[in-house]
Every structure is written in C-alpha cells, then in structure tokens.
Amino acid sequence: MASYDSDKVAHIHEELHSHLPPEPALRAKALESLLVEKGVLKTDAVDRWLDNFAEKIGPKNGARVIARSWVDPAFEGSLRNDAMQAFTALGLAKGGGYGLKAVFNSDTVHNLVVCTLCSCYPLALIGMSPSWYKSNEYRARAVREPRGVLEEFGVKLDGDVEVRVWDSTSERRYIVVPQRPAGTEGWSEDQLAGLVTRNSMIGTHRDLRPGDGAA
C-alpha cells in the first residue's frame, strides 16, 4: 500500500540521500539488483523492455507520420483532428485513449513544446526526449523567453511570426508538425521522413533541410 504521505517520502529521500552511494550508476545498479533478488523484477525484465522499446519506438515514427501528412491532405486532416489515430493508422500505435495533439507550424505560427513541471513528452510514440528537454534551463525559460531559447537553437523568427508555447501540464502530449521544405516536390515519403528531426517535433528546429534528418 502506498501511504500517499508527502512528508513520509520526503524523510525517505533524506535517508536515501545520506546512505546510498553517491555514484548514480551504482545507485541504479543497487536498486535493480535488489528488485531482481527479491523477485520483484525478472532478471531480463529491464533488458527486454529496452530491446522492445528501442526496436519499435523512436523519432523516426513521428517523422513517418509527418511525411505522410505532407503528401496526403486527408491524412493531414486526420493528424489535425486526432493525432493518436494518425499514428494508429500507420501501425505505429495500438490506439487507446492516449491524448496527443499535433500543432502545425506555418509561415505565421511557430510552436514550441515544454513541460515546466516535470518532463512530459510523447515518448510512447516518438521515443525518449533529448536530455536538454528535461533540463532546468529549458523548463524555466521556454515559457518566458521562447524567442531567446529558439535563437540559441539557431531559430530566428521574424516579428510577424506568432510563437505558441504548449506547456504539457496534463496527460495530454504535444507534437509539432514542421513545414515541408521548399524544393522537395516529387520526393518519396521515405526521403521526406528523413528531413524530420527530433528537435523539429519539439519546435526547437524550424527550417528543415536535406541532411538534417533522423532517418
């Protein structure tokens, strides 16, 4: 039974801080070993999870969905209305009530996603977030000076482009749909997917160019 007692866990944290080895890798190893020894986790549970996750889930899945939306207006409509359904339609998710919202960049709108309170990210669909996304610097600054943060990523916006920052405060998740770059007429979906970067799906990369992609 969980106690749901805030002060009790604060006290447990103090004990852990004082008594566990300071090296993070050793702390992680100690806990995993104990869980395996106690039979709480099977020996290969962590390996199997990682194999399964790495094999099926990553930024390329998001890139595939975005590339399809660039070549198929009906699919783009579906991505706008129910982004989870768009992932499911391409066999990249199994449906369910996971709330995913796709927000579309345009000539006059730029979208940026953050989780100021922790680290929420659509990792079940496009894999683990980059470490900078979870940093104090990004979480603190993205909602207050998004244009300054974007400049550090090399994104310079004209004054007439509106910035929309999406703070992931519920169980809903956000993915940015970047604009299809000019000069890619006639490209295959695979080629187009190769242009889509992980950062572009968060909004810290705006102008996609050949050679930058995740694929």
């Binding site: 866990v9 106690k38 449906g95």
Partner: protein, 224 residues
C-alpha cells in the same frame, strides 16, 4: 506544494545545452537507460492499481527530493531515488535491504508480470482509459481566471499562470484530476486547454503577440 520543481518562468538560468543530444541516441549512458526501463517495468506492474501507485504520486515523490538535489542531480538519478522511495513507502522493499543487499528468493508473481508487460512496452505506455466526468462548465472562447492556489499537495497548475486571465482554447472531455490522483483517488473532471497572452504573464513582454497554452482541470478555473 510549491516546491522547486515548479520552475516555469524562473529567471537567471543560462543557455540550454542542446548540442550533446543526437536523434539516434535515446540515452547518454547505459545506466540511464536501465534506470528508466526499471521504472517503466514497475509502472507497468502498478498501473491501474491506485492502492500501490499512481503516476501523479510518483511525480509528487520526485517533487519531494531535496531542492538542491532536484536542481543539481542527474535526471535519471532522481528517477532512481524516487523509485526507491516509492518502493520503500509502499512496502515492496525496505531501506535496510537496499543499503545491505538481500537474500535470493523465488521468482514471484509480480516478476512474471514485469516480464509480460516488458513484452508490450508500447501498449502499456499508451494505454489510457476513457473517463466520464461532468459536463464542462466553460465553453470555447470563454474568459477564465485561474485560482491563486489549488492543492496543498500535488497540483498541475503552474505558479506562473495562477491568478491570471486566459481564454478557453479547447475542451478535452474528462481526465482524472492530478491533484486527487496524487493521493490515490481517481476523480475524473473536465479538462481544458487555456491560452494566455504573454503580455498577461510577463511584465517585460508588453509588445508581444505570443501565447502560452496550459492544460487545466475545471477546478483550477473560475469565470473571469
């Protein structure tokens, strides 16, 4: 609780160090991947059983890390400590065992479950139930003001939007209120996205047309 985790809009932080991340690299070090996967395996075992765990409780457990540790220790290291604290609190392990090691035992039913769920990672990660709650009290386009305070425990209303006026952008049906889930109580409530003009949030942004969108439960809001 207004712990240090509620960091949105705090000033004085330096550049975002993004240059070390690469799309094909989900984790920088192996222990980080293992730490995260260990948490995911346990979450998969516990999901749907609020007697032992909810995700919002886990979030709150992380929020109760010492503030200096919260700001300075590696993200995955914080997850390890929060998982350990969660496991000690709900009686799965004892602190002394973690410090001293433990004697081997038979593989238990919970271990079977952890392996089974490891085989369907993407399913258990995306599995969310649909919840039925009350009819929404606010409509799209309506002006609302966020409350100055919500819960004394865990809440998902960031400090930087409290007491501010925004506009209902969208309504998303009902989701369990995070403040209640963090206490193990599943209480569906209408959920909205609320749009705030940055001019209403930050004194230095008086010429901006930019907006910040926050998801907010109905009890966070009142008519403006």
């Amino acid at each position: 609780m207004d712990t240090v985790h509620d960091i949105g809009g705090r000033q004085g932080f330096g550049p975002v160090h993004w240059q070390h991340d690469h799309d094909e690299e989900a984790f920088h070090e192996e222990w980080q991947a293992r730490a995260w996967a260990m948490c995911m395996c346990m979450f998969a075992v516990w999901r749907g059983n609020p007697e032992v765990w909810t995700l919002d409780w886990f979030r709150h457990v992380r929020e109760r890390i010492d503030p200096i540790d919260y700001l300075t220790r590696n993200y995955y290291d914080q997850w390890v400590q929060s998982l350990a604290a969660t496991l000690i609190d709900n009686g799965t392990i004892r602190l002394e065992e973690l410090l001293a090691g433990s004697r081997p035992r038979e593989t238990s039913a919970i271990a079977e479950e952890s392996t089974k769920s490891g085989g369907t990672a993407e399913k258990s990660l995306t599995d969310r139930n649909e919840f039925t709650g009350s009819e929404p009290a606010f409509s799209v386009g309506q002006k609302v003001r966020t409350k100055m305070s919500t819960a004394a425990f865990h809440t998902r209303l960031p400090a930087y939007v409290r007491g501010r006026v925004g506009v209902i952008e969208n309504h998303h049906g009902s989701q369990p209120l995070a403040d209640a889930s963090a206490r193990g109580v599943i209480k569906p409530e209408p959920l909205y996205t609320v749009a705030f003009e940055t001019t209403d949030l930050w004194p230095e942004e008086q010429a901006s047309r930019d907006r910040v969108f926050v998801d907010a439960w109905e009890s966070y809001l009142e008519p403006a």
